[in-house]
Amino acid sequence: MPDEKVPVIMVRDLKKIYKIGVNRVHALDGISFDVYKGEFLAIVGTSGSGKSTCLNMLAGLEHPTSGTISILGKRIDKMNEHELVGFRRKHVGFIFQSYNLIASMNAEENVAMPLVFRGTPKDQRVAAAHKYMKLIGILDQAKHMPGQMSGGQQQRVGIARALVIDPDIIFADEPTGNLDSGTTAEVLALMRKIVTEQHKTLIMVTHDSSIAAAADRQIRIVDGRITEIIEAGRHSDEDK
């Protein structure tokens, strides 16, 4: 639980409206919340609730229809695509549900890939990749190709890849969605370790309340609105 109340992310009255034919679908209908440094936040909701849209906008993958998002004091809703890519390169790690490793690269190269985009020389890249793979406990698989690894192992590579740029914020989109329950527990423990030991801010999207319970705080979204904010140990309803 964060003691220092420094908001890393500030979301105010965020709306996203999709036009499907003549219909206007309110995917997000005015949500506001803060995320603090070193916090493990879960955004929970059923399929179609708007939780993924919310994460996409926080990561700068989609533009909001209205509302503001400030991350590290920067208004990312006003950035163009070039700036957003640059922002992610500097500050953001991303963990995907289906791991999204590049099939033609071995584990080590996959982990080091974000550093390639930064223009880091090869020896430094390999050193950084090894450091985080050791932390995650997959250094022995450095030369394995994604196809030779289990789902759990691939997701660990994905986590190491998110960590390798030493990001301020890590986004995780259903990180355990493709894993069995045993592996899910391991991955959740790993993410908790990252937050506690590496002092990262982690925002995870999930549909599963039991998984969301691993977080410091849960924001429940139903039909594009926040219905409930659950802090670990405490419980508060928010009727808007």
């Binding site: 996409n56 990561a59 993958l61 989609e62 695509e81 070039h82 890519v85 640059g86 992610r88 390169r89 500097k90 953001v92 991303f94 995907f96 549900q97 289906s98 999204n100 590049i102 033609s104 890939m113 974000p114 390639v116 985009f117 930064r118 223009g119 020389p121 090869k122 890849r161 740029i165 989109d173 259903e174 969605g177």
Partner: protein
């Protein structure tokens, strides 16, 4: 992204789909090779043509004619020729003082053309041996054409050529003693002894022994423009002829209205030497404007080159069509590749890969296809060019009628360089639209769960 990482990644991506890459490269190989081979044929023909014209005579020489002009201002005299020398870009001039002489060497006899020309002219002659005649000498020194000794035939006792004789006469003009008989000349004026000479007949005409100081380069079979003549310094020749013909100056002088021989030299032909092939036409036009007939090999060459330029354009166009097809192949391959890699490109964007890097990655991939295709295509062109030249050396000469010692296909270095650069450019241009499309792909595709 560092350039070396970009290139490594591009090459890895190409190697991931080997078959398709090889097929696309093959298209570029065929396209490049067809352009290069087509152009090499055009260039080879054009080069053979220049050489052919060069063998007819220097390409920087303008020949001026004046045969039997009634107008004395249009006569080719030393004075008018000096006027040609003042035209811009003219490096030298030479009148031609032409005398038919009979030459006798042992039992062989022949009729030769003796040309008195200036040092400007003599300098153009490539010597096989010996030296050039020195200017304005009291004695005549000759340069023998490399084929001129073939003018000699064996004669029988009565001085007639033996028509049935097939025996080869070999004369070395430098070492063998040759006697020359000059023509009697016309009976105009009061040249002393001319009447007597005429009565005595040719047999008793005075024989002169002249020194040959040099030979034109080449064997007796290799033709060039100096092969058949015998050349000497014009001032030496004038001095020499004055001794024979006195006031007539030359054997058959032009006469004035009173029937007296002219007191100055009138020539039928003169040569004007120009500094560069580029300026020949301009100089020739100036001489024509001065009222003289002039022509040059350059004039014919230029006409032929215009035709040749069209032939080259057509050949190059045919080649270009196949490279265009190859370019479409590249576009197709890159488009396919983008659809296959939509997810991967999305992941790269989510992980912070700069959009320009994504575009450059695709440009490098398509450029690499162009480069590899161009390089292999060029190698193939050299091989085909070599084969064409090998096969066509004999046949080409017979059909095209050109000296093809250098072959009919010719790939100069600039063409090789051009081919590679052009192939890379085609690859990059063909990759541009796909690259732009890849750059603007949505990163959302990557995180969409299957």
């Amino acid at each position: 992204m560092r350039p070396q990482d970009l290139i490594t990644l591009a090459i890895r991506n190409l190697l991931r789909r080997k078959t398709r890459t090889v097929l696309t490269v093959l298209g570029v190989v065929i396209g490049t090779a067809s352009i290069v081979i087509m152009m090499s044929l055009g260039l080879g023909m054009s080069r053979s043509m220049v050489e052919l014209y060069k063998s007819f005579g220097s390409l920087t020489t303008v020949t001026v004619y004046s045969y039997g002009s009634e107008d004395s201002t249009k006569e080719l005299t030393d004075e008018t020729i000096a006027g040609f020398g003042r035209i811009p870009h003219v490096t030298g001039t030479s009148p031609v003082l032409n005398v038919d002489v009979q030459a006798k060497c042992g039992s062989a006899e022949g009729y030769l053309q003796l040309y008195g020309v200036t040092q400007d002219y003599l300098k153009q002659i490539e010597l096989g041996s010996g030296t050039l005649p020195k200017p304005d000498q009291p004695e005549l020194e000759l340069i023998f054409g490399n084929m001129a000794s073939r003018m000699f035939y064996k004669t029988n006792a009565s001085g007639r050529f033996r028509a049935d004789d097939t025996e080869e006469v070999t004369i070395d003009p430098v070492t063998d003693t040759i006697f020359y008989t000059f023509p009697e000349g016309s009976q105009t004026g009061s040249g002393s002894g001319n009447a007597a000479g005429s009565q005595q007949g040719k047999a008793n005409a005075k024989k002169y022994m002249l020194q040959t100081v040099g030979m034109v380069k080449g064997s007796a079979e290799e033709y060039n423009e100096f092969s058949w003549g015998v050349y000497c310094d014009i001032d030496s020749l004038k001095t020499f002829l004055k001794k024979i013909y006195k006031k007539n100056l030359v054997p058959y002088p032009k006469t004035n209205k009173k029937g007296k021989p002219l007191s100055y030299y009138v020539y039928n032909e003169a040569y004007v030497f120009v500094d560069d092939m580029e300026n020949v036409s301009a100089v020739q036009t100036r001489i024509n404007d001065m009222g003289f007939q002039a022509n040059s090999n350059m004039q014919w060459l230029e006409q032929s080159q215009q035709t040749m330029g069209m032939v080259q354009a057509v050949l190059g166009g045919i080649g270009a069509v196949s490279l265009l097809v190859a370019a479409i192949g590249i576009v197709n391959t890159m488009m396919m590749s983008i659809y296959e890699r939509t997810r991967e490109i999305g992941i790269m964007k989510v992980l912070g890969c700069d959009m320009n890097d994504i575009r450059n990655l695709f440009l490098v991939e398509s450029g690499a296809i162009g480069f590899i295709g161009g390089a292999v295509g060029l190698a193939l062109s050299w091989a085909v060019s070599f084969a064409i030249n090998r096969l066509a050396t004999g046949a080409g000469q017979a059909i095209i009628g050109m000296p093809s010692s250098d072959g009919i296909s010719y790939i100069p270095m600039w063409l090789a360089g051009f081919a590679i650069v052009f192939a890379i450019a085609i690859g990059t241009i063909a990759g541009y639209i796909p690259a732009k499309r890849a750059m603007s792909l949505s990163p959302l595709a990557a995180i969409r769960n299957e």
